[in-house]
Amino acid sequence: MFAVFKIALRALRRNILRSFLTMLGIIVGISAVIVGVSMGAGAKAEVDKRIASMGNNLLTVMSGNMTRGGVRGGFGMAPNLTPGDYEAIRKEVSSITAISPEARVQSQIAAGNQNSFVQVSGVSAEYLTARSWGLRSGDNFTEVDVRNANKVCLIGATTAKTLFGENIDPVGQVVRIKNAPFTIVGWLEAKGSGSFGQDQDDVVLLPYTAVMKKLSGDTKFRSFSVQAESPGSVPDVQAQLTSLLRQRHQIADGKDDDFMVRTQQETSDFFNANNRIMTIIISYFAGISLVVGGIGIMNIMLVSVTERTREIGIRLAVGARSRDVMRQFLTEAVMLSLMGGAMGIGTGFWLAPMLTKIAQFPTLISNSSVIMAFTVSAIIGIVFGFFPALKAARLDPIDALRYE
């Protein structure tokens, strides 16, 4: 068995440039497979990370989905979640550990001579729990602050940096939002990019009562953030929220909801569907390249069989059986494609991090893609090497020896 590999290796070395050029198709195909799969996996990991950064076991109730005059508005476009809904959920829905409404307003915010245009979110004291968000310094505002609509706020890492400079603790400072002074009581930890790529840290969190009464004048919420107590209870909580809100919004059976309850899993699926399409497209091109590479191997092996007809004749004359000749040429073809595969994997390993570095595209090389690439190249060798090997094995000894 070892001798077979030695013979094959020697034959390939004899035409080293030709062997390499033959392998090129496989190298390109396999590296495309590795890079493509790593892009898919990297994008999925990035999405999962962003979704996870939203919180644990988080459900989001969004207002909207109303059709008005045939125009379908987007979710969260028309706030229709009431404080009554909020209270009802708190009282009636079981298996939840935290709930916070969200009232938003975009506003200029100033501190000293610095100012910034940020997302001001009005939330409850449970919001940080729901979002699994920690504080770098200071404290969360309290239920009392919410009840009294106190002018206190939590400041996001990016906003704090813009207004006060890097690594300067802003707790105790005062920021002005629409000319009303708010005291910073807590400095939020950095959370990174959200699921839509937005900066989650460029934010100021206020008690929702303060936003509604003092800033926006709204009486309804855009959304609720609800944390279920465990991953297993997420579907149950989703069902409870849906039926409670349908009942409260008096939606008749068969009519569409005027709100939407979305789990993190659904958000993740939504984004990963795009990644899957991208992976499929890249795999398609990689597949074409592999087939072309395989045909290249078949072509070169056919040339090789013709060139080495005399050698085959000699081997047959000294007693090689057809299957020995077959095995020899099949081994060569498989070796060509396996070496091409190995180089392709190497190229992929080199290319994927380059892509991350240059194009900032997240990539993640998985062991399974390497194993898959190796298997695929072995199969290509066998499939495309079979016909030339069969041609060699079927040669007549005398004709082969006479061949000039």
Binding site: F2, A3, R14, V318, G319, R321
Partner: protein, 213 residues
Amino acid sequence: MSTPVIQLEDFCKTYISGEVQVHAVRLDGVNVGELNRDELADLRNQKIGFVFQGFNLLERTTALENVELPMLYCRPGVRTRTQRERAEKALALVSLADRSDHTPSQLSGGQQQRVAIARALVNEPKLLLADEPTGNLDSRTSIEIMGIFQQLNEQGMTVIMVTHELDIARYCRRVVVMRDGLIRSDEAVNDRLHAAEELARLDAEQKAIQLTA
């Protein structure tokens, strides 16, 4: 190609590919015409050694590896170390032990033919088939090759050789003359030459020429 060569090749072809041209060729009690392709391959491997006019060695492959070649196809297989030992022994038999790591291009025609003979012998066949083995060689080397054949024959191996050099034919025990595919004569050789004696005579003549010059 000369008629006798074709005849021998057709003869070999029967052995090799089983195309029935010569019926009922029996070798070692086996009717060769009835064998299938694999059985013929094994027959070539175990029972017959082939020597060709053009040597037919594998290029860029050392003499030793060329001689090992038939053992790669033995069933059951031969251990790598045994292969090496047997190949070395066969090369020693044709006095080429010191050239075992040379490739064909580094060897003279006579040496290449001796490698080919070593390869033919390595599996200890019953029959040695030689197709114009001296056709590409000078006369002295031809006699050396005949010497090897005579030696093998004395040890009990059957050697069938095709040649159209009449002086070379005289090293054989029996000569079958063929013309246009027909046997013209078949008789024992009375004045058989012995390679060892001829070589000694050649050496003596060489010496005489050197002396007179």
